[in-house]
Amino acid sequence: MADNILELKNITKVFPGVKALDRVSVSIQRGTVHALVGENGAGKSTLIKVLAGIYHPEEGEVFLDGVKVDLRTPYESQQKGISVVHQELKMSETLSVAENVFLGNLMYKGRIVDWKGMRKRAAEMLRELGVPMDVTVAVERLSVAQKQMVEICKAINRNCKVLIMDEPSATLTEKEQTLMFNTIRKLKEDGVTIIYISHRMEEIFDLSDNVSVLRDGAHIATLPVANVTRDELVSMMVGRAVAHDYPRSGKTPGEVVLEARNIKRKGVLNNISFQLHRGEVLGVAGLVGAGRTELARAVLGIDRIDAGEILLHGKPVRIDSFRKAIGLGLSLVPEDRKSQGLVQIATVSRNICMVNMDAVSHGFVMDAARERQVSQEYVEKMDISTPNVETEAQYLSGGNQQKVVIAKWLLEDSDIVILDEPTRGIDVGAKSEIHRLIVGLVDQGKSVLMISSELPEIVGMSDRVLVIHEGCLVGELKRGEATPERIMSLCV
């Protein structure tokens, strides 16, 4: 009988439009390193946030040491012995290492704060972890790896029983990783249970005892790593069956409309070249942070490029601002619908007409009637569900908001449409409508560059797929060659 320190039973967490976690039940054995894997958006982060007391599940129970616990705030989670080292470290940058370790948990000598004692203890703890450092320096002067160590120290200092690490290795150098792994093994010896999230298969097989796979918010399997191969794990992550049928354009891609040659941006993009054809959907796959969005931004003149050139219809162009890119017939449906795609407090009509104001104005003067009429047309054509065009965008559902974002580029009539995660956080029905819209664009002879973390979508929609990994183009797959397994194995 396994000794479980943590048991999750039927955890369900719903966000507007999506089920982020669907009756997830996982047991974590005491004193093990437990890996948590899955595609982007599979629900790993949501699950962690539930354990951290940040999200509150609609259903389900958490048992810690066999006792049912209610994790309502991060503080409560920490008090009960669950600590998280987040991917984006949240620390008091200007305070010293020792101060951070004891933050919110100061040592006292009588009624007076015992700084000397805390410095001594912090230094001891870091030495034990195998990373001695000067505990009086400000945290802002540390490397990411060192900061993580300080966070781990902070967790241990709070008597943590379960330490959750969200992709700790993503930003570390190889040497730092080795150090980090040694620390993890050391913690395990000391009896700390570790939940470890990573995309890197090598690490998972190297470090962990058990592994749980999540997919689309559902728990797929939990098993000892010794009983599973890398390929089996990948196919569990992506799922075998493609969820639904993807619409296809009858067109065959034509001539090259957009070409990027050796695009470089220091530390982000490394020598990327690609061609986009007329009437083509070019998928861009890769993990979050691999450089996909950055590639789109570089092409669109939002971020400066250090080297390389961009050709439109065979002619070199200098795109130094996004406005210029729009003028050249490029467009972007940005990654973050809420903060980048829409003016939430503006009406549907104003959002739709925001890019191509010329279409609904005479000179400088807006034609309000025409504006309403044009918006109404798009609302009907795209089946946007809204009380009327004067409703503020914030009151629409995610899928309908995304349609509004796409509508403004349809009105602008851009030749090249770049979509960044066009269906993230959107329910299945709206998703396939957006897929049909994309195919509609291609049918009109436009070209689409689609960034997506959803492998079935990438595979189902794209004529070709670019795979980006750590700022490099690591593969270009044609339709037929591109399978979720193949893409996944290129990006891990």
Binding site: P334, Q340, G341, V343, A346, M354, V355, M366, K408
Partner: protein, 326 residues
Amino acid sequence: MSQLTAGRNVKGRLSKFTKDYAIVVAILLLMVVFTFASDYFLTYRNIRNIFMQTVSVAIVCIGQAMIVTTGEFDLSLGQNVCLTSAVMAYLIKFAGFNPWIAILCAILVGAMVGLSNGLLIAYAGIPCFIVTLGFQMIARGSAKIITNASPIAGMPEEIKWIGRGFIGGNEYGFPVSVLIMLGLFLLFMFITQRTKFGRSLYAIGGNKEAAYFAGINVKGHRAVIYTIAGALCGISAVILVTRLDSAALTNGNLYEFDAMIACILGGISLAGGRGKIIQALFGAIFLMLFFNGMTMLNVNPFVQDVLKGVVMIGAVALDVVRNRRR
């Protein structure tokens, strides 16, 4: 059925109107109260006076309202009025400029101060609080240098009518300055409500990032509105100097705050993206009525300052509550 929905629509519109223009109701209430409290209040002379006193601050309100619409504010406006007053008076009295050229120069100086604000805020990315506070001091200092800290009085007759003239006789005529103010309000209401430029302002105020991703020249628009606000300070100064017949360091004092209070009272959201310029005019009228009435009722002026503070915090509290309900 259709009648039912129509009825609901009218009701909905009415409730939206009263929410957006609660200030109008407040103005009417205030007028009723003061009419009962003082015999002199509801006379054409007094009302005309109140409006003429409102003009200079109301014109500054136009600029402030546009800036508030984009989610920012300008603290230099009042001292910009002071500086441009000094420039105009100095050029006329001591540099022998043609009064009309001097007026043009004053407006240009105002615009230049605004442009400097705008460039530093939009392009250099320095917070508006810092930049405009800095220019508040720069403008005040410059005004002191120009006037040597003493008032410059005695404007030529040919321009006095701007601030003091009436159309249709001195007794019951309509003030020229009020006409100019109304003209400016109409112009800028048109610009903000009916033009591409105005649409872009609201988009920027609603969400700067989304406006950028819609291809709106966010930086350019922000720089332009500070410039317009500066030019309006110049116009405000021209009316103020010709009305008072003097450029003194007290000209325009605290106008930036009065304009902010007017925007807030009028119901323009400090968060940006909501509200109409006309609401700021109503806010300004309310303020002027309030203090005119207080003075008439012999309320201690020091107490009036305290009340001003109370009114402003009250209005912001109202704004916060309204936003929370959304």
